[in-house]
């Protein structure tokens, strides 16, 4: 879901108010952009390799450019906005193919060793070896979601509605910037707009309005 063209589909997140003071402090210090840039580069995407133990990995890339992972200052900062791509690589080897290849490898192994059964450890090692070979013959799937953080009002727009992607993004965001994100919801927005004490207690008491007059 791109931020730079076409229609926009996104979820909003807010910098956690309990850590808002930290955000403000970071924002007013002269070198916060350099600090953020270093933190972003540190967590820039490292593409998955067949030999890696990880089956899935996420990191930052240039907004709208999943394969540009060498990030420069001008790629990231645009006035008060921080624009990034949240890239996730994942190995996706189809289960039936893996199963068939493992079966073949097991049969060949047993024949070579002139045995009838495999141990649990041997089976696991064979499976890992087959999976690695298959990974070398293919490429991981790559997904990227744009993200734009408006530092002036503490809003992060994440251009996806996927809960899983949002969960991984908020974790990486926290590791990168040291700031927690809160997902938009009727209560979080109400609270941010400012509820009076009476409204806050009314919120706790309210019940669903019922308009139904007909039996279903």
């Amino acid at each position: 879901m791109p931020a730079l063209r076409g229609s926009l589909t996104y979820s909003r997140f807010f910098i956690d108010t309990s850590e808002g003071a930290t955000a403000q402090k970071a924002a007013v210090s002269d070198d916060f952009r350099e600090k953020y840039m270093r933190a972003i580069r540190l967590r820039a995407m490292r593409p998955l390799e067949a030999e890696d133990e990880d089956l899935e990995r996420s990191g930052w890339c240039k907004v709208a450019e999943p394969f540009e992972i060498e990030l420069h200052y001008d790629d990231v900062f645009c006035n008060e906005y921080v624009a990034l791509g949240f890239r996730t690589d994942r190995w996706q080897i189809p289960g039936p193919i893996l199963k068939a290849r493992v079966r073949e490898a097991e049969a060949a192994y047993l024949e070579k060793k002139a045995r009838e059964k495999l141990g649990r450890k041997e089976r696991a090692e064979l499976k890992e070896s087959v999976a690695r070979k298959l990974r070398k013959q293919s490429a991981p799937s790559t997904r990227m979601v744009d993200l734009v953080w408006s530092m002036n009002d503490g809003i992060v727009r994440f251009f996806s509605h996927s809960d899983k992607a949002a969960g991984n993004m908020t974790e990486l965001f926290h590791r990168t910037f040291g700031l927690r994100l809160v997902a938009e919801a009727p209560y979080t927005l109400a609270s941010r707009l400012g509820l009076t004490k009476a409204q806050e207690s009314a919120w706790q008491e309210i019940e669903i309005s019922v308009l139904a007059k007909e039996a279903s």
Partner: protein, 225 residues
């Protein structure tokens, strides 16, 4: 009540917000206003999804809220899950889909951007062409220009997006002032029930009472008319 409960157990408020927007856009014939923004157009357009548990009703059309099934769904206890809205303010038009329980936005079509133009002095205009700031190799200059334009595009899109969000937030603020005060049960619910049943709701009477209720709720409240 823990913060988590205030969030998770009150997501239905988003559904009631969509219902209220639908109701007010019909009663006020597509012209709403807030204290911050004055009058603007807002109406349901494209898609309306209502649900209760596993039962879902999806209505598509130019004005989905006016389909017979829409009100029938309300009478069966369904509430809006998402609604596509048309927003017209200043000289701009935008459409978007608002999801009730997360207030997430989908398919936001921003107003068409007017091409930059500069007067020629002869009553005509020509598009402004932006030159690279310094002489550079052609490839480098093109990349620099593309990056500059991408930054401008991002900035402009986020600015307009924020403008739209501010209108929606102002409406939500008004909704909360009504929803969390006595006006909800005394004014809004009776009007909603009449409207759902197809009875006439007097827009002037409702508008006047609503304005009073918002004024009573505090300085943040908006007025209509």
């Amino acid at each position: 009540m823990e913060v988590f409960e205030r969030i998770e157990l009150r997501r239905f408020v988003g559904r009631e917000l969509l219902l209220w927007l639908w109701f007010e856009s019909e009663v006020f014939e597509g012209t709403l206003s807030t204290k911050q923004h004055g009058s603007f157009g807002l109406w349901l357009e494209g898609r309306l999804v209502l649900s209760a548990g596993q039962e879902v009703t999806t209505i598509k059309g130019t004005i989905p809220g006016q389909h017979r099934e829409a009100k029938e769904a309300l009478l069966r206890g369904k509430m809006p899950d998402l609604a596509s809205l048309h927003l017209a303010w200043a000289d701009h038009d935008a459409t978007l889909t608002l999801k009730a329980e997360t207030l997430a936005i989908a398919g936001l079509k921003l107003p068409r951007k007017e091409p930059d133009a500069a007067p020629t002095g002869e009553g005509t205009t020509v598009p402004v062409r932006r030159a690279p700031r310094r002489r550079a190799a052609p490839a480098e200059a093109a990349a620099e220009l593309a990056a500059h334009e991408a930054n401008e595009e991002l900035y402009e899109r986020m600015r307009v997006t924020r403008e739209i969000e501010e209108i929606l937030e102002a409406l939500y603020r008004d909704f909360l002032a009504l929803r969390l005060g006595p006006a909800w049960s005394e004014l809004v619910i009776p009007a909603l029930e009449a409207w759902t049943l197809g009875d006439d709701v007097d827009a002037d009477d409702y508008g006047t009472a609503r304005t009073k209720a918002l004024a009573a709720a505090g300085p943040k409240g908006a007025t209509r008319r």
